[in-house]
């Protein structure tokens, strides 16, 4: 099959045009931001030094945040593992079951953790249990998808050989297919653990436990030195989890050597941590839930408000979704452009060590702040609206993309760069001609993935007044207006599905 390839300049031009359209639509105005930069520096100045006396108050909700993410990530990953053999097409599961499961996972994948958490509070009451449930579902959806894709591209020769000896399929999967995908599975789970800490940190906004509630409160009371304390705590927690995760990833992928005894100790320690986190999550509170609520929620999905769904003017569903996409698009693009130099600064292979360390710390600090906090702070400078959303998404993308970029740079083959260095090329020339061409596919994939996630994130920005579909969705849910919420959810499902198709297309094109 041959596909006609567009010339490169056309792709670049189309990308630029798209970006400018999105920027126009969302009212991007960098001059305004510059003019009002004083508001931002003021807030930053008040945050530091943080209010140390406030620290004891932060610890318990911070722990709840970590707890929700650990329990949710482990449970979600385990469920995903249990179901993965059922939705991989090359294994012997019944096709009908596979299609059903895939559809469910795709549905769950559509919703940002915050919306899942809000829905969970209607079932399990206010508190960390709802948050844990949301993180579990969120992790489950992503991990099932990833693990299925891995299993699907794995060799099945050994699996079929075991089946031919009379082994039941489930056992054959775990003994013959899983060993081949185990290290990617664990790496993915660890990566999700990191991102889930950030997700958990905002769940408090909808009453699902953790540090988010406190954060929201202190920001709205403008007690910025206390906000600074909370953010510092989060930064340290993220640092801790990221280094733990990096260390474990090294063990899992075999880059770090380990003895069987050490591995056994680690497994036992992690199991103990998980059990401790799970046991202390706190029971659900079913008093707010009722069969009627559940039925009303489902009815809203089945019989959504079609008038709102098809409303085409400003304020209608289509317009709000378009705004959400534009926020994600413009924000991702800006974030990607800023991440590139930052990643080069943060890479120990290109830059001297102290510079790299500083670069990495800046990236980590940026991504340890929950994105709604950025929204709440930017709003003080640029006011409510989509532009604030773009800035928020951009800054978040900087934190996460720069990390991915640094990882790509750290694993790239440096021989071409050394060859140019030997010929006396300058550092800039070496980066441009030896590094970037090799890194382009990895960078492209990271940006596409980030765009995909950013759409979900952008769809909750409305919660803090930063534009997009989030405000009407949360408003509808909080007012038990299920038909409108249903219409928005269906709109989101369609949107995410379309973007998935497009991104698969683009990725296929990038590989070809």
């Amino acid at each position: 099959m041959s596909r006609r390839r567009l010339p490169r300049w056309a792709i670049v031009l189309a990308g630029l045009a798209l970006f400018f359209l999105a920027a126009r639509f969302t009212g991007c105005d960098l001059a305004l931001l510059w003019e009002r930069r004083g508001h931002l520096t003021d807030i930053l100045g008040q945050m530091f030094p943080p209010d140390w006396k406030f620290l004891p108050r932060v610890l318990s909700p911070l722990w709840a945040t970590v707890q929700m993410s650990v329990t949710g990530t482990v449970l979600g990953s385990l469920f995903a593992l249990a179901l993965a053999p059922l939705c991989a097409a090359n294994l012997s599961a019944p096709p009908a079951l596979r299609v059903l499961l895939r559809a469910l996972v795709q549905l769950a994948r559509t919703f940002p953790a915050l919306i899942l958490a809000l829905a969970a509070t209607f079932l399990f009451g206010i508190g960390p249990f709802a948050g844990t449930a949301a993180i579990t579902v969120y992790t489950f959806a992503i991990m099932t998808r990833l693990t299925c894709d891995d299993a699907q591209s794995a060799s099945t020769a050994a699996y079929r050989a075991l089946l031919a000896m009379g082994t039941p399929p489930y056992r054959a999967f775990f003994r013959a297919v899983f060993p081949g995908v185990a290290s990617t599975y664990l790496t993915n789970a660890l990566y999700l653990l990191e991102t889930n800490v950030r997700h958990s940190a905002i769940l408090g906004y909808v009453g699902a436990g953790g540090v988010g509630l406190l954060l929201n409160e202190k920001i709205s009371w403008r007690e910025y030195s206390r906000v600074g304390m909370i953010l510092l705590g989060l930064f340290l927690a993220v640092c801790l989890i990221e280094s733990l995760s990096a260390w474990l990833t090294g063990l899992v992928t075999g880059r770090r050597r380990s003895s069987p005894a050490l591995r056994r100790i680690i497994v036992v320690a992690l199991a103990a941590l998980f059990l401790f986190c799970t046991a202390t999550v706190g029971a659900p509170d079913f008093s707010r839930a009722s069969l009627r609520t559940v039925r009303a929620m489902l009815a809203g999905l089945v019989r959504p408000d079609w008038a709102f769904f098809f409303q085409t003017d400003a304020g209608g569903l289509g317009w709000l979704l378009l705004e959400t996409v534009c926020i994600a698009l413009a924000g991702t693009a800006i974030g990607a452009v800023i991440s590139l130099p930052l990643a080069i600064l943060g890479s120990g292979r290109i830059m001297p060590r102290p510079v790299a360390l500083l670069g990495r710390t800046v990236c980590m600090a940026i991504r340890s702040v929950p994105f709604l906090v950025y929204g709440l702070i930017f709003i003080r400078a640029t006011g409510p609206g989509a532009f604030t959303g773009v800035l928020t998404v951009a800054l978040c993308s900087v934190g996460l993309l720069s990390k991915r970029f640094i990882q790509a740079i750290d694993t790239v083959d440096l021989r071409a760069e050394l060859a140019l260095a030997a010929m006396g090329a300058t550092r800039l020339a070496r980066i441009r001609h030896a590094l970037l061409p090799q890194l382009a596919p990895a960078f492209g994939a990271a940006v596409l993935y980030r765009f995909d996630v950013n759409i979900r994130d952008a769809s909750v920005l409305g919660l803090v007044g930063a534009g997009g579909i989030g405000a009407p969705l949360v408003f509808a849910m909080n007012h038990y207006n299920w038909p409108t919420a249903g219409a928005i959810c269906i709109g989101l499902v369609v949107l995410v599905w379309l973007i998935d198709l497009l991104s698969a297309r683009l990725q296929g094109g990038a590989k070809a």
Partner: protein
Amino acid sequence: MYLELNGVSKTYNGRVHALDGVSFAVERGQFVSVIGPSGAGKTTLVRLLNGSERCDAGQIVLDGAHLENARGGALRAIQKRLGTIYQDFALVENVSALQNVLNAALPDMGALPALAGSFGRQRRQQALGLLERVGLAGKADEPVRELSGGQKQRVAIARALMRSPALLLADEPVASLDPVTGRQILELMKDIQRTEGVTVLMNSHNLDFARQFSDRLIGLNGGRLVYDGPADADEDTLAAVYAGKAAP
């Protein structure tokens, strides 16, 4: 008769007749080689015999059990008495040789011990013994991906033997090995057939090997049986198998 095929047919996609009315019988303890050009239906035959696929018509009777209409638990009960080895070894590459051999014990275990990988002392002892039997005494803890092709096929044979099979199926077991290693593997299979009384049915397109090691040859071409007779038939008769003409 230990194994009997009666008018066995298999069609893929409604038009490719991979096997077309094949009938033959094998006595217990025989070493039978199935020869024929590529696409003759040899692999299909093995897949039908080990229950990986189901035939469209005909009967396959293995030690009195009908394979052609067995399903679920009944099928698995028959499959448990078989061992199969493959051209591409079909091993789990990133676990040890020992673990691969132990995998053959999975059908006999409870689901939980199977998932946890706790096979017990006795099975480990048995697996280690089998690895020694196939000449891999020191390699039990080596990851399979680090073994040579010949060593991998030895692990696969040990895995098949772990089931104490009455019938050992082999689909081109030496086609991806060099001739010297291939001969060693066949000598091992021959030895197992002699000492353990295992019935062997081997696919091969290497005529020399097939003639040298088997008691009997079965020729397939285009899914049809075109030869069934002694292994020491003359060259012309066997050349006719490859040309697609039925031998007299």
